[in-house]
């Protein structure tokens, strides 16, 4: 099986992660063919999940399809890389009924368009007009600071590192001042002694 997959579909070897988990990275245009291949020739008949990871530094989404055998003893992770902007991906909702809802979820969270999925309405958000929240460029804390307020009364927080540094400097200065004073005192005492002589 691995050999056929490697020669026909994959860009790299099939990785055996665990006894029950294989992973393969393929080009996007071979995705549908590989899923069909596994569906028809083996018992990989259940679509378990579709997930998406945003690799913003490398400029692509990693879409991962998780397909399980009928007896649930093995899962295949099929990963494919697609572009980040105006992503259009073919929908699997005709082949797997449950893909419909998973794709709806991803569409909402990443803004990926699934062509052929007839219901991509908002799933868990309501009247959302900002960047799709799970994209990396969306900063949730910034959004919160912009739109909502926190409770007051916590402004007396002290920056501990700066405070420690300040106290240490203070102590050091104190010590030096002490030292200087002592030296001065010693010197004057010496002088007095000399004068006394």
């Amino acid at each position: 099986m691995f050999k056929t997959i490697k020669s026909n579909f994959a860009t790299a070897d099939v990785e055996v992660k665990r006894q029950d988990l294989y992973k393969v990275v393929i080009k996007y245009d071979r995705l549908s063919a590989l899923i069909d291949f596994l569906y028809n020739n083996y018992t990989y008949k259940i679509l378990n999940a579709i997930t998406c990871t945003d690799w913003i530094e490398e400029g692509h989404f990693a879409l991962t399809y998780l397909i399980t055998t009928e007896d649930r003893s093995n899962t295949f992770m099929i990963q494919t890389l697609v572009g980040r902007e105006d992503t259009k991906v073919e929908s699997f909702s005709k082949k797997f009924k449950q893909a419909q809802i998973m794709e709806r979820d991803l569409h909402e969270m990443y803004g990926i368009d699934f062509i052929g999925n007839d219901n991509l309405k908002e799933l868990s958000l309501e009247n959302w007009v900002h960047t799709p929240p799970l994209r990396r460029e969306f900063d949730t804390l910034e959004f919160v600071n912009e739109h909502l307020t926190f409770r007051e009364g916590r402004e007396d927080n002290v920056d501990v590192k700066a405070e420690t540094k300040r106290l240490r400097a203070l102590k050091k200065a104190q010590k030096e001042a002490d030292k200087k004073a002592k030296e001065a005192a010693d010197a004057s005492a010496l002088k007095e002694n000399e004068d006394g002589k």
């Binding site: 868990s124 958000l125 309501e126 009247n127 900002h130 929240p133 969306f138 949730t140 804390l141 959004f143 919160v144 739109h147 909502l148 307020t149 926190f150 409770r151």
Partner: protein, 205 residues
């Protein structure tokens, strides 16, 4: 030690003598009725809803104190906002709250209603409940234990008995303030607008 029915009576009446001086006898009677029968709306808005079944069933048995569930907002006195509150839920809570008949009280459970709690940096939850609804009692915890929830109810009953809990009046008086905050997070307009009769007629009830 006393047990059973008498004991609960004592808990409820313990504060009777202290706070009555400024109330007229009609007020006193009304408050007494109110505090002895608290109907809680069956709406689990967040995590804290999971500690409600133990509170209301036989282990902690809130019905001893006259607290029980109510299925519809029209019959309910108390709405429990049990923890975090996403925008989508907030819209439903406001709608439900405005459908409830006076007097009505809000009990807020957990850290999330005070200052955001665990979800302080989440893009989809509100941080301070008091900006959107008037809150009568906050209960500490994440999530609060049934004992804490019961304690919250007992404190609420005390306030009701003393005639102090009057958040629904606050909501009427500052309706514009609350509406402004609500619309700021929910979009242009809070739909549908339940500006019931007591908002429109002067003097309310």
């Amino acid at each position: 030690m006393e047990e059973g029915f008498l004991l609960e009576q004592k808990t409820l009446e313990g504060d009777l003598n202290s706070e009555t001086s400024h109330q007229s006898s009609v007020d006193f009677l009304m408050n007494w009725f109110r505090k002895r029968s608290i109907f809680v709306l069956a709406y689990g808005t967040g995590c804290g809803a999971i500690e409600m079944p133990p509170t209301f069933t036989s282990r902690y048995d809130a019905e001893r104190l006259g607290i029980r569930g109510a299925a519809t907002p029209r019959q309910a006195d108390v709405i429990i906002v049990s923890g975090y509150c996403s925008y989508k839920t907030l819209r439903r809570i406001i709608r439900t709250y405005e459908q409830m008949s006076n007097p009505k009280y809000v009990l807020a459970l957990g850290s999330c209603t005070v200052n955001g709690g665990m979800y302080w940096d989440s893009y989809n939850t509100i941080k301070k409940l008091e900006d959107y609804l008037p809150v009568d009692m906050y209960v500490n915890g994440c999530m609060p234990r049934p004992e804490s929830i019961l304690e919250g109810f007992i404190e609420l009953q005390k306030e009701i008995g003393a005639g102090k809990a009057s958040s629904w009046q606050k909501y009427e008086e500052n309706h514009e303030f609350y509406r402004k905050n609500q619309e700021a997070v929910l979009g242009e307009k809070v739909e549908p607008s339940y500006e019931a009769d007591w908002y429109l007629y002067e003097g309310g009830l």
